[in-house]
Subunit: 393 residues, 2 copies
């Protein structure tokens, strides 16, 4: 006797994980150099050298009990202050450390925010294409998960579709920009139009509709594209940030939630998020990592390698005849599947040792995702394979 | 508009936290040396030197991407193997690494297990005195939280009371030994008798009743007292372990769940726990700490300082006329409140700058908890205060 929903989540691996495991098994047979695995979004740029140097310094200059001890549940004040200072310097804001909640990465942050917003009958919207884990995260809290269909082929946000999905039960809408899986950045124009719609609907329904801005890829943008700071456009925005990609620390589980001071019910919402985190077993974010962030919040990733990969793969695919969404950010390319059936094309490619993820699980059939955080050499050698695939399919 | 239960949990600090904050504020006025704060269970023995040495070694010998990257959700195989090896050497077991799930400390582990066991109408029992967070953890999953009254003054387990609380809806019972707050260790005799009762009841109700064994204090036992390995007595035992106290790493959030291979539905239950963790935002336990544990799973704490504190405080209190539960383990003393009202006595003591936690929140009114992970000197200087308190109350 056990919880069937939890069992289903634990027993059924995601499609991405399945592909990744297949790739490892296949590599053992034909050699790793002959498997072109574009399935998993695992950073391929190491953490900035300052990160490990900071750990060494902390081991020297900080008392062991203080270094490894409990922090307050909201996070060390020094950490919250360093993050607030960095954000204020970049965005011209006046964020207080007291509006930041240090947490164990975007996943538990999103769950805490969804739970804090959940009331009887509440609905939370995601915009396709979206990160597949949003669905179990929302549904675990008791809210209904609703999907706004994708804005093909631009992968901005279709306001008409948002308006169709929104209702008096809507308490929040999840944004993820730069986007996984499309690699697109929502423009300021898109966000202002969305903000106007949400403001109108909040007035109509007499309750706030929050944006939940999932921002692990915030620092990963190319060609000088601006990633707008969403709370500056729409104050009822709750940010869930992670250092997983920006500092290449995905396994370490460190990030923060920001509840703007001028958001509706700001203090109460912050308390509800803290309470939701507490009920999920949050005690504090990993203490050593909090202290690293207190000294490293100003660091930015060196995107050179990702950018070179992006250009090589994008140009190669376009030349081969693929239709690819313009890749502004993150480390994904979203490609129209030849023939229109991404699952079938993915299976076809898999048999030829090219691993790509069909967009169906992201709420966007007909496209597939390529993750280009692999070696430059892998991409260079993959291009003839991609040419063959589109020709022979 | 926000979730009221989450808000209540976030807005209302625990009694322990309130006392701790009061102590800090009071210290600023009268001087830290004049405030005797026995409120918070924060380890006062630093982590073994090998822990920080291992971090330094890992920074030298492990590639940054591998060191800080995602691990599998269940945890690095090397970590699970090191823990299994250590347990097998100590307990003569044959635990497989595949039955261990590495997680971020006892709190999220308990939540994952409670969720995995929760079915419509299910009830989970705790034995008073119990760690207060069990209640929100259980209730968040949708199970009903029921309390087995304390076995005063021995603080073992009253089987008659367990039998009164158990029903066909009972899916689990939480054990915590060495116990917070009583400092008592459940004897093998106690556990065998409980196992017999649970086996009988499982047969009667035709479904397993699992023990959820919350073991952050497992290594903290004194005077050679044995802390029995519960799965060896009752196979339907799920262990939630933490290195917070055993290696003095409370802020780092690292521990494991063990589902015995011979537990009923073992594989499915493990999957349900993994799924429950996933739905709460578990991606993996902090990667650096997993790699530290892979090399440090065999380390044990040096209990000398705690033991000296324990003896000094216990003997001093008994001499002053207090009735104290025999302190076998953890770093708590559980003391009968003079006059019988622990809240009133706690308030009286607080006015005289002695901070102790009334047992009411632990489901055990009439007693108060002292945490002796403070300096030896603080305890020595507190004894005349305790004498005055009992005399003047």
């Amino acid at each position: 006797m056990y919880n069937e929903k939890a069992y289903a989540l634990g027993a059924n691996r995601s499609c991405i994980r399945e592909l990744f495991e297949y790739g490892k098994a296949r590599s053992a047979i034909v050699g790793a150099e002959n498997v072109f695995d574009f399935s998993l979004g695992n950073p391929s740029i190491p953490a900035p050298a300052e990160v490990n140097e900071t750990i060494k310094a902390l081991l020297e200059d900080t008392d062991s009990l203080a270094l490894h001890g409990y922090t307050s549940a909201t996070g060390d004040l020094a950490t919250r202050k360093a993050i607030a200072d960095d954000l204020n310097a970049r965005y011209g804001t006046a964020i207080s450390p007291d509006s930041l909640f240090i947490c164990g990465g975007a996943a538990p942050e999103l769950v805490a925010v969804f739970r804090a917003l959940t009331v009887p009958g509440s609905e939370i919207l995601a915009i396709a294409p979206y990160f597949p884990e949003y669905k179990p995260f929302v549904e675990t809290t008791g809210s209904v998960f609703k999907v706004v269909p994708p804005d093909v082929p631009e992968f901005q946000i279709s306001l008409a579709e948002v308006e169709k999905q929104i209702s008096s039960n809507t308490v929040g809408i999840i944004l993820n920009s730069p986007n996984n899986p499309s690699g697109r950045v929502y423009t300021k124009e898109t966000l202002v139009a969305l903000a106007d719609l949400l403001t109108k609907k909040s007035t109509e329904y007499a309750h706030p509709i929050y944006i939940i801005s999932d921002e692990p890829y915030r620092e990963l943008a190319y060609d000088g594209v601006e990633v707008p700071f969403v709370p500056s456009i729409y104050p009822n925005t709750i940010i869930c940030y992670s250092y997983s990609k920006s500092l290449s620390l995905p396994g370490e589980r460190i990030g923060y939630i920001y509840v703007p001071e001028n958001a509706t019910d700001s203090k109460a919402l912050y308390a509800a998020i803290a309470g939701a985190a507490r009920s999920a077993g949050h005690v504090c974010a990993p203490a050593l990592w909090q202290k690293v962030i207190a000294r490293c919040a100003h660091l930015r990733p060196d995107l050179k390698a990702y950018d070179e990969n992006r250009q090589l793969l994008y140009n190669g695919l376009v030349k081969a005849g693929y239709t690819v969404a313009k890749p502004d950010g993150a480390f994904y390319l979203f490609v129209k599947a030849p023939g229109g059936d991404a699952k079938a094309f993915s299976e076809f490619a898999k048999k030829r040792d090219v691993l790509l993820v069909p967009g169906d699980d992201f709420g966007c059939p007909g496209y597939f995702r390529l993750c280009y955080c692999v070696s430059y050499d892998t991409i260079a050698r993959s291009l003839p394979k991609f040419e063959q695939l589109i020709k022979s399919y």
